[in-house]
Amino acid sequence: MIKTYFALTLLFIMLVFSVIPVRAQESIHPSEFELARRTYTDTLDQYRTKEQKFFVLREQYKQLQTLASLEDVVRASKNVQLSRIDTLLAYFSALQLYINDLKGADVQKKADISNRLQQATLELNIAKQQIQKATDRIVLDKLATQYESRNNTYTSVAYATLSLIRIANIQTATDQLGLLSSQVFESIQQSSPSAAVFSEKQRGYDELARTIGTIKEFIAKGMNRYESNLGNDFTQSSYSQLVDLLGSGYTKLKQGESFIKELAQ
């Protein structure tokens, strides 16, 4: 009887392993940035839960005014402040990885942004240690004030990084468009078309070159705005203005995409 069951178990295991494909083979290995972004998303989710709990307990403390409710809210305050810092650390880590692989940006500008990210990370780690040591509401509220006074700095670092990323990405695409348009025109010349066809292609190429020129103007304007903002604090508003400006350049980029497709036909 035992032998029969042993044989059946073995058969079952063999059946399972022979029919179920190894899922790991199908999954694509995520990049280091992708992993960092997932970590950031998870940390943000945890923060939201802790923030909600903190608000509930703070309200409870306001109503009850007991030592027990104070103890609860102090613990929740510590947790939510630590979680807020962890969220920012994960966020800056993801940005750092993005910047490391960023193409189309000036090396010096990348290095400057990288330094600012590292500085912010260092500050946050110090703040984290202070919160970990804190035990009462006075110290925790003092650390909350300290964070609030530094929040604009962190926002500024983030939006400066995002601005550089947006400019660099549109620069990369424009460079690629310029390179491809030259190659296409070169191949048109080599194919020795008729005078009428060549004239048409030449006009198309010139129009494409003008479009690329316009995109470059938008990028230059964007870069000027970026540099002028570096002196001040980058805000969400200044970032949105930059995005709007680059948006006009992007529309031209899309136009260039359709032009080159027509030119190659």
Partner: protein
Amino acid sequence: MIEENQTQFIEDQVLWQDQTHTVPQHIEVPTQIPLHTPEQKKKKLLIIGGSIFGGLFVLTLIMMMVMGIGRNSMRLVPETTPKPIVKQEDDAFTKAFKLLQQDIVKADPTTGDLPFPPVNPALYIAREN
């Protein structure tokens, strides 16, 4: 020490006893009563084992259906008129154009990735936000 026969008094005497119908003082009760015969045991074990394997088999079938293995195995059945698979190589322009399209998608400033985390900058215990 408790007497075994609790109904019997110490100094009682038998007034009359029917010699033909004597009640035995101790009745031998078997300590282990066989509830099931070996055949019944075997049958029971077979039912339990069969149920477990049946359950596992059904579970495997469900897993296969969920993971789409059923569909994959159906593909193994040869078609009546197999179509030849022609793999077309992209030319240099198509390859470069696809790369350009990827760059253009990435360059869209409106689909901003990683905005600043929506954390509350003012988390005080005893101060209104």
